[in-house]
Amino acid sequence: MGLKQNLHDFKQKNKDKKWLPLFSAFHTFLYAPDEVTHNGTHIKGADDLKRTMNTVIMALIPCLIFGMFNAGYQHNIQTGDATHVSVGFFSSEFWTAANFWIGFAKILPLVIVSYVVGLGVEFIFAIKKGHEVEEGYLVTGMLVPLIVPVDIPLWMLAVAVIFGVVIGKEVFGGTGMNILNPALLIRAFLFFAYPTWMSGDKVWVAGAVERTKEIAVGTSADAISGETILGSLAQGQEVAHSVADMFYGFIPGSVGETSTLLIILAALFLIFSKIGSWRIMLSSVLGALVMGLIFNQFTASGIIAEGTKFYGLMNTPFWHHLLIGGFAFGTVFMATDPVTASQTNKGKWIYGFLIGFMSIMIRVFNPAYPEGVMLAILLMNVFAPTIDHFVVQGNIKRRLNRAKVKTA
């Protein structure tokens, strides 16, 4: 008798125990469940919920590892231990063990807190309701550490995760029933609850907050500050980063969203494994480009004069918007969330386009909310069922009309 059989027997023996869902969660994580559908459908795809989730997590791993290197790199640049040189993606300045360990020590706790707290809430609800633990948190738990600033205090993250999972998901009935993307809800909660930790120029570089305190008490004199590119643009400052930096991701920002290159690779992976919807990704990029072009026209034609409030962000070349901020990350990993996005194909085009369009609009018009993509996706999450409704109704009407013509 192997381990597998032992575990199975153990499960059979304790069938009525209250904590069984807890055990099954780990059991099915290790071994694919052998219980299959008993009636009805007999042909099933191999891509169950767990497989889907694992694919997305695989796509996220490169971003996570890059984020660790980048956190250390940004920290070292600011402390003077590394120099900022505009080089290729495989620059030996960037991929150093020193960079990695700084980022690793900062980001691993974020990942652990996110998973422990989030899965803890899931387990409690599963035991209370007496159903199997749902896999829904696997992806959310990985997304959350990637979309927060690296210096966020762990207890804030824990509070936000509890809020996001309970209010965002469990009250609606758990995985698959939520209206809003839980990961974005967690970020939005942090953003509104603790704005000083989520925006400004002090939070994006590891150690910047501590350094500010040291300056206050006089033990250190060199400030660490790393404004995100969006932040600099909103304030009309010069951007100190080249386009190559933006594309490769050697810029300050939330942990996992800086490298557009890796996100594009992840997007291709998701599209070819048929997990992510290419319609949403493509239409949302189109939406962003259209909005960016419109703003570029404003500045080119002189409607918005140089030096006025919105000039900096409006005058950004329209395609830069795809590289800076969390746009790429949000579009690929969050807008495509199959639960909260539109379900119909036509709906996906509308949904994606409006996300891109509004992300850039919020970004430009409200510098207080530089991360427009978060709010745009949350807003469109709310409208996704409405979009689907009209698409379906439109289809029914069209087909009814066709039927009428035939009978006439």
Binding site: M156, I167, F192, A193, Y194
Partner: protein, 214 residues
């Protein structure tokens, strides 16, 4: 309550829990969301509504046999509007700062659904004494929720109660702030009031399953 006969006591105790105007009937939500960022404002609002509702109920109950049913809404509006203006003037005279915090929401007591609801549902068909008790009870149920929401919002949002710091000084980093705690700015925004209210409703209904509709 030994002071009142059982039937009358029920008029006060029922709306406090199992027939609470906010959590069960879901009336008067707008003011509950708008003014509960501070505990003090919540209490003043609760008292103001109690005064208006209790007196209004008595007046309507006294007039119940002479009001023609076709124009009863207008009569009710006149009564409640007059009472609200009195309350507003009293607030302005004796608690000017608070009346500024409450701003338009004192005036909006006129449109508070609880008041019109009680006039229609109770005062028009009951004696003045019973109507008075009903008004006190419903306003107390409304106030209770306001105070609970206000308590949590002010405590977690500003770290104060009645404007007095209870968690330490956020700038000097004393009290719990020394451990890295920070005020939750989201609690001061209206969405969090709605969510707090939702959690209260959730707790209440999971404790008393008979309140769950279908």
């Amino acid at each position: 309550m030994g002071l009142l006969p059982k039937k009358d006591a029920k008029l006060i105790t029922d709306p406090l829990l199992d027939n609470n105007p906010i959590t069960i009937q879901v009336l008067g939500i707008c003011s509950a969301l708008a003014i509960t960022a501070e505990l003090k404002a919540s209490i003043v609002m609760a008292v103001a509504v109690m005064a208006v509702l209790a007196i209004g109920n008595v007046v309507i109950s006294l007039l119940r046999n002479v009001i023609p049913s076709k124009i009863r809404i207008i009569v009710q509006l006149v009564v409640v509007a007059a009472l609200v203006i009195v309350v507003d003037l009293i607030l302005k005279a004796f608690a000017y700062e608070l009346s500024k915090t409450l701003s338009v929401f004192v005036g909006l007591i006129i449109t508070n659904c609880i008041i019109m609801g009680r006039f229609e549902a109770f005062a028009l068909a009951n004696t003045p004494w019973r109507s008075f008790l009903d008004g006190i009870g419903n306003a107390a149920g409304y106030g209770l929720i306001l105070i609970i929401v206000g308590f949590f919002r002010e405590l977690l949002g500003s770290g104060t109660l009645f404007g007095i710091p209870v968690l330490g000084d956020p700038i000097e980093k004393t009290g719990v702030y020394a451990f890295g705690y920070e005020n939750n700015g989201f609690m001061l925004l209206a969405p969090m009031a709605l969510i707090t209210l939702g959690i209260i409703i959730w707790v209440q209904r999971s404790r008393n399953e008979s309140l769950i509709e279908d």
